[in-house]
Symmetry: C2
């Protein structure tokens, strides 16, 4: 459910030199030289294990777990468990959630600190007809940025997760001890909005293990095609749902599809749905009009505005527009204002409409039923618990109380402080690696970080990783394996990024 | 595209006795006795040919011509041509229309008068998964009303057309001369709104032949389950079209589907479509709000209101509601007013909505495109030529000029005078056959009768036939072959109804 990383251009500020000097505290010299030696051995092991890692990724891509279709649930749990065990996790087991199970494991390195790792082992649906090669094949191909792998999950999220596992394999193969202990929690229904993932916190062993963690990351391909990275200090929440209008519930219109000529005598549940939708937004769908929707919306802070202004300076508007196929932003806003809107505004998006006859040409029916698939993004301090009843009340008050609101998934926004260890460790890795980066207040996309940043854990949590990929939720999803651009990490460099991150988390 | 025949209940007035006496003019006695003898021989031939007729119908059902999918076009033309030739038509040939060809033929009986016969050889789409038996099998099964045939086209329109052909076979087999000459014009794209059928009138031979016709019928199963029949004095016109909103045409929103998180920054063509739809109607979709839409709408005449009042008295509201699965009419109108609305109001119906992700569950995309499939029924004196530009202008004036209006088919309303030969002949057949019937001003459904009732022909034209079937455009379409209710005609009695109609047309 994570969004594409916005790309940045060459003007991105190089923060490397100044920052890395500042990070070297007194006495850090000896630790640094030992770490450098360890790092060299681990890198050699990453290289030696590369073919195995790619094979592992391709095998994983070949086994899609799709929560919406309940596809390969048991198989996905078993595969995830095997991957975790092979990478060194112990006590690996499925955790019941009430939905699709999570997978849990720990890696006790005898270290002082512990880091939490969030994985998702499910993927988004796909239509093979839209792909250049079979989406489950994991075909290796030549991309303008280098050798790449194409397949469902290549970047969202099996590719970066495989790079993380490759790092763990390399620690073991090189005989190096991990600098931190790990707790792994892998979800199987992220792509339907994590409806049950919070329930993992009811498992005493899971909760106790997660309480020991300093912070949590989800491995992610964080680099734009030009190599720049964006660190987000949180993500929007989401409610994913279907609005279903039917003659049966409404008590008007037909109980089943009837001949369209009867429209002159019989009400239409599909028109009823269109009228209901129309009340949810103003301004061509751009501003939610659900009563009380903005009650708890926290405006951007001065710091957040400054970060966005910085991002607007360093990211290429033209490149982003080209990559999205977009000519104008909402209200013809200038770039910076459009990014403020992106970071700060709740949305009511129509993912899909399905009613009546959907095949080629027409069919003269008056449909008994219509469905609108919506996703509503929430910003701080909105919550699902507050927003969903507001939507229902709004529909009731406007005469649409009969329309079913079927929430399939969703969760609250997540925020992590700029000065938290997870964010500082990310900056340190990018700085040491000479990776241009910028901070952004909030991803407009969503991931279930609230499970870690909210009650009961209240830990810092974020997306992190070197590497580049694209096509999440879209055809021809890919990840760069062997980069032809020295500024963009390939698979092996991405694995080393996780190695470096774990070292940073041990000391920061 | 014809609608289900509204059912009638037992209170339908028996007009038989009085009317049949009035129809017998002086000197009609001798002709009548000769006709009775002929009729007996023809009936014997219909009975003898029954198995062949059913086989012929099943073979036809097995070959679906579907214009929307361009399925079996050549095959359909050839099959229709063979059916016509075998039934006695000569000079049978395909007539180019610019779309799917029509089939034309004449049957010169050396008679004084000529009758035009309209066939459609195409059928509506179907989804085999929704059917109790394969829709192309033509399975014979036990229906509460008797032995029946189930298959696509069973009642719309291959079943009644086969009964008409059975009548012609029986004339020949019994050595009886047809009382009228026939001109056959069979269409192959009725189910997509007859976009090219009017072009058959550009063919000089077709036009000359049709000019000789006294009137035109389309064979139809005109009886409700209780045996009563409704004679309609016309039918609404129709415009079938797709409204297509896209980022590409709009210049706003994405050119292809993008991640839904970007809704905060990027416009949505699907919301644009919803807003456009909302402007087309008021009152929950029940009243067209397209500017100027009612300009040429002719209110019901006093005679039309009287006919509707009569229909309201004789048809069972409860039975119709039950058969449609409807609890309330629009605006909670009483039965008579709802029938007035049915006969007199133009409609804007949504046949289907298709946008973005339409599969199970959700998919977090911001779709680049949305499609609404509409059918707009036209009443006298609206015309397609006047209405379609009004729709386009309306969209432009409301800021939706970018939305494509793709008309796929349609035609003007059709009207035939109550005192025309075609209507009087129908009444005479029903009266002689003791069939309860009522007159109704207009079918709310549509058929391309305007080709015959409009310029250049200006002939009376209508739907006619004994027999019962249901499920047009729906699963499990059927026609009763051997009726267990003496008030409902089976296939053989339907064939005899056409025999009687041709005799009436010869003298009326």
């Amino acid at each position: 459910m994570t969004a594409e990383t916005p790309s940045a251009d060459r003007r991105t500020i190089l923060k490397a030199a100044a920052a890395s000097a500042a990070l070297l505290a007194p006495g850090a010299g000896l630790a640094q030289s030992r770490r450098d030696a360890d790092r060299e051995a681990i890198r050699a092991a990453v290289d030696a294990g590369y073919e195995d890692s790619v094979r592992r990724l391709r095998e994983w891509i070949a086994l899609p777990t799709i929560a919406a279709e309940r596809l390969n649930i048991d198989e996905g749990v078993q595969h995830m468990s095997r991957l975790a065990t092979e990478a060194g996790f112990t006590g690996v087991r499925a955790v019941p959630t009430g939905g699709i199970p999570a997978v849990f494991g720990v890696l006790d390195a005898g270290a002082r600190r512990t880091v939490g790792i969030y994985f998702m082992y499910d993927v988004k649906q796909y239509d093979p007809a839209e792909w250049a090669s079979p989406p489950l094949e994991g075909r290796i191909f030549d991309h303008p940025l280098g050798r790449a792998i194409r397949g469902r999950g290549a970047t969202n999220q099996k590719g970066p997760e495989s790079a993380f596992l490759a790092a763990l394999h390399a620690f073991r193969a090189s005989g190096r001890r991990l600098p931190v202990n790990l707790v792994l929690l892998a979800e199987g229904e992220e792509e339907i909005g994590s409806p049950n993932f919070i329930n993992t916190m009811r498992d005493p062993e899971v909760l106790a293990a997660m309480r020991r963690a300093e912070g949590v990351i989800i491995p992610s391909n964080g680099q734009a095609p030009n190599g720049s990275a964006s660190i987000t200090l949180g993500a929007k929440g989401i409610i994913e749902l279907e609005l279903v209008a039917s003659g049966e519930r409404w008590g008007r219109g037909p109980a089943r599809d009837i001949h369209s000529s009867l429209k002159a005598q019989v009400d239409s549940p599909v028109w009823h749905l269109v009228e209901a939708l129309k009340t949810l937004t103003t301004d061509h769908g751009n501003t939610p009009a659900i009563e009380g929707w903005f009650e708890h919306v926290r405006p951007l802070t001065a710091r957040e505005r400054a970060l966005i202004a910085e991002a607007a300076r360093t990211r290429s508007e033209e490149e982003v527009k080209r990559s999205l196929g977009v000519q104008r932003w909402i209200d013809d806003l200038p770039w910076r204002e459009s990014l403020e809107r992106l970071a700060s505004q709740p949305t009511v998006n129509i993912e899909g409409l399905v009613a009546g006859y959907t095949g080629p040409g027409g069919k003269t029916i008056l449909p008994a039923r219509g469905v609108a698939k919506l996703d509503l993004r929430l910003v701080p301090n909105m919550t699902v618990a507050d927003a969903l009843p507001k939507l229902r009340r709004h529909l009731e008050r406007h005469g649409f109380g009969d329309i079913e609101v079927n929430m399939s998934g969703g969760y609250d926004p997540t925020e992590t402080a700029e000065d938290s260890n997870v964010i500082r460790a990310q900056q340190a890795v990018y700085t040491r690696g000479n990776v241009e980066f910028s901070l952004f207040p909030r991803s407009a996309g969503s991931w279930p970080g609230f499970v870690f940043t909210g009650e009961p854990l209240r830990k810092p949590a974020g997306q992190f990783g070197l590497g580049h990929g694209s096509g999440a939720h879209a055809p021809d999803e890919y990840m760069i394996l062997e980069s032809s651009n020295p500024r963009v990490a390939g698979f092996r460099e991405a694995a080393m990024g996780y190695v470096d991150f774990l070292y940073e988390m041990a000391t920061i």
